[in-house]
């Protein structure tokens, strides 16, 4: 195995790791990461959102397990100080020397601080890292005024932070306008007006000359060149640009640019073929990019090379930007400040409304770039049309609708080749394909499949437009409406049914919907009825609503036969019961298999055999395992402290208790549980909707885990609970999900979708913020009290039993199309060819 050393665990470095583990199927690389900062990579782009209440945890990229899972060594707080290129080693600030086969430098930038006297005084800050903003927050507590040096993107973010911290804030910019790199004079003027309206003071065309300090050495003012009066201030933040961190490369003799930046080719290789540089520290194609999007592309290029994929090259990058600053939209895209001769400018200014829109087109009408201030709603779709000739004329694109403008295309008609997400470089075509081929139905799904929208997020509204249009093209209504018969979402229908007490589909659809219903709304309503405790699912009209599996109380297989899964709570089973399962399977000629849910599945039963099989099972003390329902499935357990020398609680006992408590509970989708007896987690509880892990003091409760198509680790909801509190908390979690989940939405996707996520759920079910806890408790109590074994009830009722025949006009005849052939001493369904050529194989 070869060793890859990564220097810098910032945004781009982390992206490289993600891409490597994704494609490094052969585990070719041992990876060692050196991170100078004391914390793992975080979303630097959203750093300022900390001041809006986003927690540092939420800013984090990846999770703790990322490193253990992929065997990556992360050395936090350890800087690489030297590279020995001939020995192929690096030496760290902790004195460690590590040999590498390939070295990747992702060292980012450092904030440029103009060389003013006292620029290091107490009260002077930069704005780059979490540590920087925490320091500013702490120091600002004792301050009343602040000055930001630099009126660019970063400077304005910093100024906003000071404003939120309650300081009277001034901005000092050397250029004649704010955000000189992104907007022109017209846009700058509108932007300035917005900023001033918020109470900030803006000085343009001025140069800071000296930081003034008091006798204690603390900042007390800022002197400006050519101005008599200095600004009085308690604190100064420098946000005057960044410089690539190339010092390490420089001292190792790698080629660097005249104005800094590690020189790399289009494959991101430095002048030493064993060393790559990516992100803000790299000088690529003659320029250094100060944005995360191009850095991500570089990470992708390197990951592809290191995992032996076809050679990719960095082909330049979009430097479009959009931000919302103090409530003001500012965006620039393409060649916004073009000086090209043939660039034609069309601009619209409304100083009263504070809106500025400008676009640049070439002589053929192709869009070159543009600037939007005050209203950037057309940003994503305009940017996606760069280099093409938009359907509308340039003046239509900038004028407001009241003056004949047609706001930029909705985006639904963008060509497949148009780039929608420039951070991750995803085209409109790729997003459509994700909807068509991967079944994505919303921006969150598209993000999972394509990563589009995972950078700055500005493309998300456009992604939503594209997804909805594509769904519509497929005949799927992208609205929240369940189907053409109900305009309500599942959660809304749940409320309606609960409040009105309606328990008849026909009544519900006539009062709150239209038509006869279909295969989407009927089972959904059936499931809601069942969650609200409405008797046996095959009673009366309910029978007509159930999905095929629920109707047969068994799982349909590919050949039309069924499987039978009795409940084995917690996976614990007596030898006698094992014998019964063996005998029944033998008698009916069923195929048996141990499932992934710690129970036994018997396959190959015909419809008319189901009651006979279940009679035997029920008589032996088994009951339905609900493998056929969107219902509670299994509570997996590990053996726990009864036998295991590490166990700290009785995990099997709890698993059985939970499974018996929640058995039969129907939900928007299936529910899986597990209980582990200690932190070794042999029951894999963190991959379940509800996972419980024993601690010395009680139980830790994890929720919203998922295996399946998009695996997700469950989140810790509460720790060290006693059993009673644990059960009450799970009761409420389940009922809150059942009330608010969408159709076929597992808890993982539900939690991700909920506003406020885990904190919100915790508020509702632990702190009772909505005042519904008592109601949730009552719902669960009703479920537990009303439980009956569905199969026993069928066996006791001749009316229900009558349905279990293959043919209504020939009840004794087995379905001749179901045929089996032997394989590994058991049966399997005959293939179509076998069915045609083989004589019937009868299993008595």
């Amino acid at each position: 195995m070869k060793t890859l050393v990564l220097v810098g665990h910032g945004m781009v470095g982390h992206r490289l790791l993600e891409r490597l583990v994704e494609s490094d199927t052969a585990d070719q690389w041992r990876i060692v990461v050196f991170a100078e900062e004391p914390r793992p990579a975080y979303d630097r782009v959203r750093l300022s959102s900390y001041f809006d209440g986003v927690t540092l945890d939420e800013l984090r990229l990846g999770d703790d397990e990322f490193f253990t899972r992929h065997g990556i060594t992360l050395r936090l707080g350890e800087r690489v100080e030297a590279i020995d290129r001939s020995a192929q080693t690096v030496t760290s600030s902790a004195g460690e020397t590590v040999a590498y086969d390939v070295l990747v430098l992702a060292t980012g930038s450092y904030p440029f601080v103009p060389p003013l006297p006292h620029r290091d005084a107490t009260g002077c800050f930069v704005y780059r890292t979490v540590e920087d903003i925490l320091a500013i927050e702490e120091y600002a507590a004792g301050c009343r005024t602040g000055v930001v040096v630099g009126g660019g993107l970063l400077g304005l973010e910093a100024a906003n932070a000071l404003r939120i911290l309650g300081l009277a804030t001034q901005v000092v910019e050397f250029a004649p306008r704010l955000m000189p790199l992104q907007v022109d004079e017209g846009g700058g003027a509108i932007l300035r007006r917005h900023i001033e309206q918020l109470g900030l003071t803006v000085h343009t065309s001025v140069r800071a000359e000296e930081v003034m300090v008091d006798e204690a050495g603390r900042v007390c003012g800022l002197r400006l060149a050519d101005r008599d009066e200095p600004l009085t201030t308690d604190l100064v933040v420098f946000a005057a640009g960044v410089r690539p961190r190339d010092e390490l490369a420089r001292s190792a003799g790698l080629e660097v640019g005249p104005r800094g930046g590690i020189v790399v080719d289009d494959a991101c290789r430095t002048s030493d073929p064993n060393i790559f540089a990516i992100g803000e520290c790299a000088l690529i194609g003659g320029r250094v990019y100060g944005l995360v999007g191009p850095g991500y592309s570089m990470a992708d290029v390197v990951a592809a090379q290191l995992t032996g994929q076809t050679r990719q090259a960095f082909t330049g990058a979009d430097t479009s930007t959009k931000l919302k600053l103090m409530g003001v939209d500012v965006a620039s895209f393409g060649d916004a400040l073009s000086q090209a001769e043939d660039a034609l400018e069309v601009a619209y200014t409304d100083s009263v409304a504070g809106v500025y829109r400008k676009i640049l087109v070439d002589t053929e009408g192709k869009l070159l770039g543009g600037i939007l201030v005050g209203d950037a709603s057309s940003y994503a779709s305009l940017r996606a049309q760069l280099g093409t000739k938009p359907a509308q004329s340039p003046d239509q694109l900038v004028l407001p609708p009241s003056e004949g403008g047609t706001p930029a295309a909705t985006g639904a008609d963008l060509p497949d080749a148009a780039t929608v997400c420039s951070c991750v470089n995803v085209s409109a075509g790729a997003i459509r394909a994700a909807v068509r081929e991967q079944g994505c139905v919303d921006p969150a799904g598209v993000k999972r499949c394509t990563k589009a929208g995972s950078g700055c997020g500005s493309c998300v509204p456009l992604i939503k437009t594209l997804v909805d249009a594509e769904l519509e093209a497929q005949g799927i209504t992208p609205s929240k409406a369940l189907c053409e018969h109900f305009e309500y979402s599942r959660a809304e229908l749940f409320e309606i049914i609960q409040i009105t007490g309606i328990r008849s589909f026909v009544e519900l659809v006539s009062r709150y919907g239209q038509g006869e219903g279909c295969e989407v709304c009927k089972p959904t309503v059936a499931s809601i009825f069942a969650s609200l405790g409405s008797g046996h699912i095959l009673d009366g009209e309910q029978a007509g609503l159930q999905d095929t599996n629920d109707y047969a109380l068994a799982n349909l297989q590919k050949d039309g036969s069924y499987s039978v899964v009795p409940r084995i709570p917690g996976g614990e089973i007596t030898p006698d019961k094992l014998i019964v399962i063996g005998q029944v399977a033998k008698e009916f000629g069923l195929y048996t298999k141990i499932t992934g849910g710690q129970r036994i599945d018997m396959f190959g039963a015909r419809l008319e055999q189901l009651p006979l099989i279940w009679k035997r099972l029920v008589d032996a003390g088994f009951e339905s395992g609900h493998a056929y329902g969107k219902a509670v499935r299994t509570v997996k357990s590990c053996v726990g402290n009864t036998w295991c020398r590490y166990g700290v609680q009785d995990s099997v006992g709890l698993a059985i208790a939970l499974e018996l408590r929640y058995r039969g509970l129907r939900a928007p989708h299936k529910l899986k549980f597990a209980v582990s007896g200690c932190a070794r987690e042999c029951a894999e509880a963190r991959s379940k909707d509800v996972g419980v892990i024993a601690t010395e003091k009680g139980w830790n409760l994890y929720v919203a885990g998922n295996g399946g198509f998009s695996p997700r680790h469950a989140d810790l909801l509460a720790s060290d609970l006693d059993t009673e509190t644990l059960v009450r908390t799970i009761d409420r979690f389940l009922m809150y999900y059942i009330r608010t989940g969408d159709r076929l939405e597992r808890t993982a996707r539900w939690l991700e979708r909920l506003d406020g996520g885990l904190d919100h759920v915790r508020d509702v079910i632990i702190h009772d913020s909505l005042g519904v806890a008592a109601e949730l408790d009552a719902m669960m109590a009703a479920h537990v009290a009303g439980y009956q074994d569905e199969w026993r009830a069928v066996l006791e009722d001749p009316e229900r039993l009558r349905r279990f025949v293959s043919f209504i006009n020939a009840p004794g005849t087995p379905d001749p199309s179901i045929q089996f052939v032997p394989e590994r001493d058991q049966i399997r369904p005959a293939t179509e060819a076998e069915r045609r050529s083989l004589p019937l194989m009868v299993v008595s």
Partner: protein
């Protein structure tokens, strides 16, 4: 099974059918799926799901789509027009439709007059 003069075969009593559900019938070795809708109407189509090759359509959920009465295959969920047999999800596919009537409270099907719109 009683054959009547005009090739219709009696299958079961109308009351045996649950509104909104189907049953399978075996007529001359052919598997037929029979449905009763909420509005009382009755439909008969082939029980063979052309997508999976399994005889399961009778176990699908019925409903309406833009007014068209449909059954959705329980296997992979394709929907079929119960009046014409046409698949709503894949144009080229269709299933056989059988004439069906209610006579003296009994359901009767004709397998000879079956039509296939494909």
């Amino acid at each position: 099974m009683t054959s009547s003069v005009d090739s219709y075969v009696t299958i079961c009593s109308y009351d045996d059918l649950i509104p909104g559900r189907g049953v399978a019938a075996l007529v001359d070795g052919r598997q037929i799926a029979l449905f009763r809708l909420y509005d009382g109407s009755v439909y008969a189509v082939s029980n063979l799901d052309p997508f999976s090759g399994a005889y399961v359509l009778a176990r699908g959920l019925v409903g309406t789509h833009q007014g068209t009465p449909t059954v959705a295959s329980p296997m992979y969920k394709q929907r079929f027009d119960l009046r014409t047999g046409r698949c709503l999800d894949t144009d080229e596919v269709s299933i056989t439709v059988y004439p069906v009537r209610v006579h003296d409270g009994q359901i009767e099907i004709s397998v000879e007059a079956a039509r296939n719109v494909a």
